[in-house]
Symmetry: C2
Subunit: 741 residues, 2 copies
C-alpha cells in the first residue's frame, strides 16, 4: 500500500507522496505526525520514556470538546468582558510503555538506540515508530514497533500496538508496563503560556477507576472548574495484571518472532458506561481496526484526492492539507468544531474561530457536504449562547463568539474579538454556500433559516441608518487585525449585504413569521442591504472609512526580524498605519467573486498587497486566489506553495505548537477557487482553470447537487466526467466549465 | 477663631462657612475630614480602636510618591502593554491610641460613649475629634480630645495631640499606649479592588527600627517590589517607655485639668537620617505647630478666598474645594503631583492624571503661581520616562503617561489611556497659560520650551498629512471615554493646534536649535497647525470624524439605575453611540475661548449637552462654564452647585473612596472662568462676570503678572483694586474688565 518513493527532504522531513517520515524527533515533527479523528488527538513521539534520546518533544493528548474553565484577569476590566476562558485539557498520555528485558530496563542507561524511524501514512492512517535498541552488557538487540490509530470509523477508539522481537539472540523475558500515567512518564508539556496555570494533576486528582474485567478498566476524569467529565475504558489484548499503582503489566517470552500487545482505549464525554457495542469495539483485533481505517481513507481519497502531475511539492502539500482537515474534523467524530490547531497542539487553547467557516469548510462542502453540515450544526447548537452574547451588548439576534469551545466567548481582548462582528456573516456565508451546493432543504428549513435570521437581526441592531451615508456598521474590526475598531469595514459590510440580500430574496416574509419577523423588520433588512455604505474611490475600495487617511507604510523599510509586527509594535502603532496583517477587502472579493469586476480586483490587489505583511497564516491563500483569478498563475502558485508548506516547512515558526488548520483549508481553496477558478451561485457552478506552468495534468473531484464530477485539466484539455451530459457545458475556448443541476 | 455658625445639614454633615463637622462617623465623613499637606495624608476617624462604635470607616495613611509595583495581568496582552502598575502604599496608622483608666481598658466593653464630635477647620487646618466616655462599673466620665495637623509649613511633619480629663471624679491613673501598629489596631482597610492583593504586612515585614533617644525612634519601611524606602521618626513629648512590641507607653495622673501628650512624626522618602533641624521640628511644642498652621492658612486665604454674599451653599462649597486643592498639593509639600483623589482615599491607586493640568492647575496659576510651577516641574522631572514611552510607540518626542506616580504608564486599558494622547497637549496648555499669566522666563527657558518641543514632536510623529484632509491625528481617544480610538478627535486637534501655533509663534527656530530642531521640522510644526483637520458642518463641529454618523441616543430612554453607563454597557455599545461620558468638544471651547464665536458655542452646547451623561465628575463644570459664557446664569449656577457639592453631598456615590480633586478644581474654574468670565491670552486678562441671581456681592483675588488684583462684583458694580490704574480698564457698560500688564 505504501508508496515509499522518498520525494524530498524538508528540514529533516522525509516524504513520499503519501507518507511523512523522519529518523529524528523534532518538536515540529511531533505536530506533523499527530494522529487524530476529530474526537481524539494524540501527539506523542516518546512512547517509551526511557528511550527519549533527542530533544524533548511535546506530548499532547486531547479529546475535542473536553475543556476546563480558567479565570480571566484584566488589568482594567470593562463591563461585559468575558470572565472565564475555556481551554482544551491536556490529558495524561495513554500511549506510554515501559519495557524490561530479563529485568533490565530498556532505556538509555542500559543500552543505546541503533536506529529509529517515524512514519505517518495518509493512506492507512497509521502512525508507526520503529526503534532498534541494543543492551550494553549483553549486546542483545531488540526491535520495537509501535503503531497507533485513532479510528475514523469509530471516533471513540484509540488503538496502539506494540510489537517487539529479538534481533540477534534467542529467548528472553520481556515485561511491558503501561497505563494512563506510567512511572517515569514525562508530564505533558504545554507550550502555550495561556495554559501555564493548568496542571494535569488537577484532573488526575479527580480520577475515578472502575474495574470491568481482568483486562478492562474504566477511568473517569472530572475537570476542576467546568465539572465536565471524560471517561476512558482501556483494554489489553494479552494476559497480564493491574499493578497497585494503576498500571498494567504483561510478560512475554521474547524470540525472533515478534510478540505483540494491543492496547485499545475508548473515549466518551460523561460518566463511564460499558455496553456490548463498546466491548466488541474494544476487543476487536488490531488488524480489523487497521483494515477499517484503510477502508475509510480509501473512501475519503476516492472522493477527495487531487492528482497533480509535474509538481511533487504541490502534490504532497495539498494531500497533507486535505489529510489534516480530515483528521481535525473526522468522519464520524464528535459533534465538535475544528480548533485552530485541530488536535495537534495547545496553540489557541483548542478554540474554534471563523477560520472554520471561511477557510476549512469549503473543502468539506465541495467534497463531503455531510461533514460541512456537521460544522453548521456545531454553530446551531451554540445559538442560545450567541443570543445571550448579543443580549449582553444590548442587542437582539445572535452574535457568535470570536473564539470558543462551548459557545461562550473565550476572548479577552475585544478590539480583536467581540468587535470582529463579521463572524456572524461568516457563519451565514457557510449556510448560503452550503445550500447553493447541496440544496439541502431539510437543513435550511430546520436550522439554516434561523441562523440567517438571528445573525441578520444582530446586524440590524448593531448598525444604523445614517442620513448621509446610508446603513453603517460603526466600531467594528474586520479580518485584518492590524486595524481595529473602525467604521464600515468593507469586508464586513459586503458579507452582511450578501447575507441580507440572500435572506430577503431567498425567503418570503411568511416563511419566517414563526420567528416573529414583522413587515417593518423585513423592510429594514432590505433597506440595510440596499443602502449599505462603502467608501469607494473609482475602482479603489477603502478598507474602512478612515483607512485611506492613514500613513501608508513601506514594508521594505521594516527590518525582517520585526515581523510578525504584532510581536514588535504596540497596537496603537499598527492601528494608525496603512498596514495589514492579512487579506481583508481582498477576502471579500475572493468570497463574492460575482460582485467585482476584474478591474476592481486588480486595482485593489495592487493597492493592498504591497502593504500586507501576511503575518497571519490566513493571508497568502487569499492573495493567491485573487492572483489566479487575475490570470497571474506565477503569483498564484507562489502563494499556493507558501500555503501548502506552512507546516511542512514551519514557515510561521510555530508548527511545534500545532498545525495551522486555516492554512490547510487555505491550501484547498487556493487550489479550487484560485487555480481551478471554482465559483458557485444560486444557478450553477463554474470552473475556469489556470494551470501552473510545470503542471502537465491535474485531476480532482467535486460533489455538486448530489452528483460527483471528476475534472481533468491539462494545458490543452478540460475533461469532466460524472453527472449527465446536460449538466456540463464547456465553452468554445475550452477554458470555462459550467455545471448546471 | 472658629465661626461656629452651623449653616446647614448635608446628609449628617454639619457645616459652618469655615468648618466641616459631624457627630457620627460615616465612610464619606472620613474622606471629607482627611488632613493632608501634599506629602502626608491621614484619614482616620477611629484613633481609639476600642471606641469604634458606628460603622467601620476607612483608615488610610499615605505618603505622596511612596508606591509599590504590582504585576498587571492581561487576558490577552499585546506588545507594549505596561507590565506593572504603581500604587500608593497604604501605611500603618500612626494616629492610634489605646487607653487604660486605672487598668481598665477604655473601650465599649467596659463603658460607653456619651458624646462624640468631629470637626475640620479650614482656618486652623486642625482635625479635632472629641469623645466623652463613661466607665460602666464606676460611672467615671472622661473627655478625650484628639487634634491632628499635617503641617503646611513643614510638610514632613504630622502632629497629633491627645488630651484627656476627668469630668466627674478626681484622681485616677491613665495609661496611653501608642505606636505605628498598636495592639488591637484595625488594619487599614482598602476598598479599591485594585489594591486587594496588597498586604500592608508586606511592608511591615521590611521594617527596620532605629532608636535615637529615650523619646525618639526611627522606622524605615521598604516596599516589596519597588524597593523604595520610607522613613519616619516618632517623638513623644511626655515621659514614657518603649514596650517590647514596639509601642510607646506613657502614664499620667488624671485630674479635672486635662493631661496632654503630643506625638509628632517626621516623614522622609529614603533612609532614616536625623539632624538638628529635624530634631528641633519634632520637639517643637504643639501650640507652635498649630500657630504656624493657622498662619499658613491665613496667608493662603488672604490671596485666595472668595467671598459670596447671598448664597451660603456656594460659599461653603467653593471654600471646601479650594481647601481640598491646597491639602492635595500643599504649600511646601514634596515634589509630587496631585493624585485623582488627593491623599484622601485609595481610588485610582494614588495616580496623577490630566486632571492636574486642566482642572486643578488653574486655581494655582491664578492664585499661587509658584505652586503651579511646582506641578509643571513634576512633569518635567518625568520627561525621560515620557520620552521612553514615546519611543515604545516608535515615535520621537515624549508621551506623558495617562496615569502614573513615578512617570511610568500605569494604565492597563490602552483605548482609554495610551490612546488619549491629548495628555501631552494638556501639559503644554499648562505651560502656555502659566507663562501668559506669570511671564516666568526662567521657567520657560529652562523647562517650558523643552516640554513644548518634546510634546509637539510626538504629535508630528503620531499624525500624518493626508492629501485630502490635511494634518490628521488618527486612532486617538479624546476626553470623552464613551468614544475611543477615533480619528481627529476635535478636542485633541484644537489643543494640539494651539500648542503648535504657540510654539512656532512664541519661539524662533534659533531658540530651539540646542534641541536639534531643523528648519524642515519647524516648517512641519507650522504646517501641521495650519492644516489641522476638523470635521465641521456650519457651526456644528464633529467630536471626531465618525461621531455624527453614529446612532444618537436619547438619555431619557435609559433607566436611571443604568448610570453610570460604563457600569452597565460593554464598551462596544457605548463606542457605537452618540453618547458622552463627559464634555469633550465643549472642553476645547472652554479652554480656548478666543477661537470660538458665541454662535458656535451655542450650537455645540445644544448638540452635545443632551447626549452627555456627566458620568464623569469632570463634566458638569465644563458645561457650567460654557453656559455662563453664553449668559445662561441659571444653567451655570445649577452645574456650579453640582460641582461644589460633588463630595459634600456624595453625588458620585463614591466619596468614601476619596474626594474628587478634579471636581474641586472644576469648582474653581466654574467660578472664575464661568461666572466671572475670566480669560487670558498673550496680551491681557479679561473678566466678564455673570452674577447668579441670589448673589448680592462677590469678591475674589487674582495674581496676574506679579500683581495682586482684588475684584468685587455686585449686580450693579465692578470694582478692582491692586495693580496701577493704567493696568485696569473697565468698559462703559461696567461689564468687562481688562487687565493689561
Amino acid at each position: 500500500m505504501f508508496l515509499l518513493v522518498l520525494g524530498s527532504v524538508l528540514g529533516g522531513l522525509l516524504m513520499s507522496l503519501w507518507t511523512i517520515e523522519a529518523d529524528q524527533p523534532t518538536r515540529e515533527l511531533a505536530s506533523q505526525l499527530t494522529v487524530s479523528n476529530g474526537l481524539i488527538g494524540i501527539k506523542d513521539l516518546a512512547e517509551i520514556p526511557g528511550l527519549q534520546a533527542g530533544p524533548l518533544t511535546d506530548t499532547v493528548v486531547y479529546v475535542n470538546g473536553f475543556y476546563d474553565y480558567e479565570q480571566i484577569h484584566y488589568g482594567e476590566a470593562q463591563f461585559g468582558f468575558p470572565q472565564r476562558n475555556q481551554m482544551m485539557i491536556p490529558l495524561p498520555a495513554p500511549t506510554r510503555f515501559e519495557l524490561w528485558l530479563d529485568d533490565v530496563p530498556v532505556d538509555l542507561n542500559q543500552g543505546k538506540i541503533l536506529a529509529e524511524h517515524y512514519q505517518l501514512s495518509m493512506q492507512t492512517g497509521q502512525f508507526q515508530h520503529t526503534l532498534t535498541w541494543e543492551e550494553r552488557s549483553t549486546g542483545h538487540q531488540i526491535e520495537i514497533v509501535l503503531t497507533r490509530i485513532t479510528s475514523l470509523k469509530t471516533a471513540a477508539l484509540l488503538t496502539q500496538r506494540i510489537q517487539v522481537r529479538a534481533l540477534n539472540f534467542d529467548g528472553g523475558k520481556l515485561r511491558i508496563v503501561s497505563g494512563l500515567h506510567v512511572r517515569g512518564m514525562v508530564q505533558p508539556k504545554t507550550f502555550d503560556p495561556r495554559l501555564a496555570g493548568y496542571d494535569t494533576t488537577d484532573i488526575l486528582a479527580h480520577q475515578k477507576i472502575t474495574p470491568f474485567s481482568v483486562t478492562m478498566r474504566g477511568t473517569t476524569f472530572t475537570a476542576s472548574h467546568s465539572r465536565q467529565k471524560l471517561s476512558t475504558i482501556t483494554h489489553y489484548d494479552q494476559p497480564g495484571r493491574w499493578l497497585k499503582d494503576g498500571n498494567w503489566m504483561s510478560t512475554f517470552d521474547l524470540t525472533r518472532q515478534p510478540v505483540a500487545m494491543t492496547k485499545t482505549v475508548w473515549h466518551m464525554l460523561g460518566k463511564v458506561v460499558l455496553d456490548t457495542t463498546i466491548t466488541s469495539e474494544l476487543t476487536r483485533p488490531f488488524a480489523e481496526i487497521a483494515a477499517a481505517q484503510t477502508a475509510a481513507l480509501t473512501d475519503f481519497w476516492q472522493t477527495s484526492d487531487i492528482e497533480i502531475t509535474g509538481d511533487d511539492e504541490s502534490q504532497r502539500g495539498i494531500r497533507f492539507s486535505q489529510f489534516g482537515l480530515l483528521q481535525a474534523l473526522g468522519i464520524h467524530g464528535g459533534q465538535q468544531g475544528i480548533a485552530a490547531k485541530g488536535l495537534t497542539g495547545s496553540g489557541y487553547g483548542g478554540h474554534y474561530f471563523w477560520d472554520t467557516e471561511i477557510y476549512e469548510a469549503p473543502f468539506f462542502y465541495w467534497n463531503h457536504p455531510e461533514l460541512a453540515r456537521r460544522l453548521l450544526m456545531v454553530r446551531y447548537k451554540q445559538l442560545a449562547h450567541a443570543e445571550a452574547y448579543a443580549k449582553s451588548l444590548g442587542l437582539t439576534g445572535a452574535l457568535f463568539p470570536w473564539r470558543t469551545i462551548n459557545g461562550e466567548e473565550s476572548s479577552a481582548y475585544f478590539p480583536a474579538s467581540t468587535a470582529a462582528i463579521h463572524i456572524d456573516a461568516d457563519v451565514a456565508y457557510l449556510v448560503i454556500r452550503y445550500y447553493q451546493i447541496t440544496h439541502d432543504d431539510d437543513f435550511m428549513q430546520k436550522y439554516g433559516a434561523e441562523l440567517l435570521l438571528a445573525t441578520s437581526r444582530f446586524y440590524l441592531g448593531y448598525g444604523n441608518f445614517d442620513p448621509h451615508k446610508g446603513f453603517v456598521l460603526n466600531t467594528v474590526t474586520g479580518p485584518d487585525e492590524y486595524t481595529a475598531l473602525v467604521d464600515n469595514n468593507a469586508y464586513t459590510n459586503f458579507l452582511v449585504q450578501f447575507e441580507l440580500r440572500y435572506l430577503t430574496q431567498h425567503f418570503e416574509l411568511s416563511d419566517l413569521q414563526r420567528f416573529g419577523v414583522t413587515p417593518s423588520e423585513w423592510e429594514d433588512f432590505r433597506a440595510a442591504a440596499d443602502q449599505m455604505y462603502f467608501e469607494i474611490h473609482g475602482n479603489l475600495i477603502a478598507q474602512d472609512d478612515s483607512f485611506l487617511s492613514k500613513r501608508r507604510i513601506d514594508l521594505k523599510q521594516i527590518p525582517r526580524d520585526h515581523f510578525p509586527l504584532l510581536m514588535h509594535y504596540h497596537p496603537l502603532v499598527l492601528y494608525r498605519l496603512q498596514v495589514l496583517k492579512q487579506a481583508d477587502l481582498l477576502l471579500a472579493m475572493v468570497l463574492l467573486p460575482e460582485q467585482f469586476t476584474q478591474a476592481q480586483v486588480q486595482t485593489n490587489y495592487d493597492y493592498y498587497e504591497p502593504i500586507t505583511t501576511h503575518d497571519s497564516s490566513l493571508s497568502p491563500a487569499i492573495y493567491a486566489i485573487a492572483a489566479a483569478r487575475l490570470g497571474e498563475a506565477a503569483g498564484a502558485i507562489k502563494f499556493f506553495k507558501h500555503t501548502v508548506n506552512t507546516d511542512l516547512q514551519n514557515l510561521q515558526g510555530n508548527t511545534a505548537d500545532g498545525l495551522h488548520l486555516a492554512a490547510m483549508g487555505g491550501s484547498w481553496i487556493t487550489f479550487a477557487w484560485g487555480l481551478m477558478g471554482l465559483t458557485v451561485d444560486d444557478e450553477h457552478a463554474t470552473l475556469h482553470p489556470v494551470l501552473p506552468q510545470t503542471w502537465t495534468r491535474c485531476t480532482f473531484k467535486l460533489r455538486y447537487r448530489n452528483q460527483v464530477y471528476a475534472v481533468t485539466v491539462t494545458p490543452t484539455q478540460l475533461t469532466v466526467t460524472g453527472g449527465s451530459t446536460a449538466n456540463v457545458t464547456i465553452d468554445q475556448a475550452r477554458r470555462l466549465i459550467t455545471l448546471t443541476p
